[in-house]
């Protein structure tokens, strides 16, 4: 079994779990009730996606010999499950994009991040639903419908804030400044993605980039703002090199399973 497919599936899962966790931090803190519910619902969609990808990754990992498993997880597990992958891996094993782990910031940063990410996810899943890997294709086809709503909801917020008051625009501009350097990583192909390209398993991010840029430019224009030009970008997430923020997320998310292994309720 090739580990490229496992790493790719974990990358897709980790993106969804970490951004889902970030969105869930808004639960009970949203600016108004309807938006609190919206952002929590989106979190739920992400956690659902993560579960599907983790379940698939777990099946693949369980087929590996023990030493390869250990190499991949850096710990031994009798049977790997979705929970093992979410709760017991440490920072360097996570392959999520850096943009997903950044703190929520204010509402502008939260909705802009969601718009930039969900637009990327939308075009990725559009391709992934035709992947030669039938399980990845099934998960993508299913999630694509939900992601369509995420793009619409977050895009409307970006327009509302940018084309809103002086204060809302100021905040959106700050959010753009904060997030722009993290968008280049969307399109940087990792070794495991390159390895899966010839067999038409992974998504070709070059074509996603064109569609993403068109969509994002259009919405930002409507919001009377723009992404700054720039070639340099932050990267490392896909390879397990993260910002300091991921450790804090995992500390909170994994505390219970680490302190009380196998606890259920």
């Amino acid at each position: 079994m090739d580990t490229a497919l496992i790493n790719y599936t974990l990358h897709l899962a980790d993106n969804a779990l970490i951004l889902g966790h970030r969105n869930s931090e808004w639960c009970g803190h949203g600016p108004i009730l309807e938006q609190d519910i919206a952002v929590s619902n989106i979190a739920l969609d992400y956690i659902g996606q993560a579960r599907n990808f983790y379940q698939y990754a777990a099946t693949l990992i369980n087929q590996l010999p023990a030493d390869r498993q250990h190499q991949l997880l850096s710990f031994d597990a009798a049977e790997v499950t979705e929970d093992t992958l979410a709760y017991l891996r440490d920072v360097p094993a996570f392959k999520n994009l850096l943009i997903t782990e950044l703190p929520n910031g204010d509402w502008a940063q939260t909705t802009l991040r969601l718009f930039l990410f969900s637009t990327w996810q939308y075009y990725c899943y559009q391709q992934l639903q035709y992947s030669q890997d039938t399980q990845l294709a099934a998960i993508a086809a299913k999630a694509l419908k939900e992601v369509t709503y995420h793009v619409k909801w977050s895009g409307e917020w970006v327009i509302r804030l940018g084309d809103g008051t002086e204060e809302s625009k100021r905040r959106l501009l700050l959010a753009i400044e904060e997030l722009a350097d993290f968008t280049g990583e969307f399109f940087a192909m990792s070794e495991y993605e390159k390895a899966l390209l010839p067999a038409n398993i992974a998504v070709n991010l070059d074509s996603v980039k064109t569609a993403w840029t068109n969509k994002v430019t259009g919405v930002l224009e409507e919001a009377t703002v723009a992404l700054p030009p720039g070639k340099w970008f932050q990267s490392g997430g896909k390879q397990g090199i993260h910002t300091e923020h991921l450790g804090y997320i995992l500390a909170e998310m994994q505390f219970l399973q680490r302190a009380y292994p196998n606890a259920t309720w």
């Binding site: 309807e34 938006q35 519910i37 919206a38 619902n41 989106i42 739920l44 969609d45 992400y46 956690i47 659902g48 996606q49 579960r51 599907n52 559009q126 039938t134 399980q135 294709a137 099934a138 998960i139 086809a141 299913k142 999630a143 419908k145 939900e146 369509t148 709503y149 619409k152 909801w153």
Partner: protein
């Protein structure tokens, strides 16, 4: 130990008619269109279901309710299999299900399943006063499958089961 009389697949379908969605208790799992297949092999009843939404927490409860309903009728062993593909769509909801939703106060899905670029504003009818003069309050309602609307005529807020 008594031998279970042979159970027909048809009987299982009628039992499934009585299993309701925990979030929208007027709809049976058949109204929702989430039961893809019922199989009987060597007295093992296999029910193939598909989740509505990826993150729908109700799917575990639904699996358990199906198992319980079949067990109560003496049907054992039961295997519940979840499949993702083809992805569930609101097109699979029965007409009867849509009527039940409306009577319950939830506006049923309008039109066809969402297509790739297709998310324009849709007209949704108020389930209380039947007015078409309604507005979207939020795309995300009390559960992820619903959007929140308000009627501009009778002023009543209501849930709309989104196209999916």
């Amino acid at each position: 130990m008594t031998a279970t009389p042979a159970i027909s697949i048809q009987q299982i379908w009628s039992i499934l008619e009585t299993v309701n969605d925990p979030e929208v208790p007027v709809l049976s799992v058949l109204d929702l269109g989430i039961v893809r297949e019922v199989k009987m092999e060597n007295r093992l009843a296999e029910i193939v279901i598909t989740p509505t939404y990826t993150g729908c927490p109700a799917i575990d409860a639904i699996s358990m309710n199906i198992r319980m309903a079949l067990l109560q009728q003496g049907i054992t062993p039961v295997r519940i299999t979840q499949v993702l593909s083809p992805a569930w769509s609101t097109d699979w909801m029965t007409e009867q299900g849509k009527q039940k939703l409306k009577a319950y106060g939830i506006a049923p899905p309008v039109g066809r399943s969402i297509q790739e670029q297709d998310l324009e504003e849709i007209a949704v009818q108020c389930p209380q006063c039947n007015s078409w003069n309604t507005r979207l309050v939020s795309q995300f309602g009390s559960t992820s499958c619903k959007a929140l609307f308000q009627c501009n005529d009778c002023k009543e807020p209501f849930d709309h089961f989104k196209c999916h």
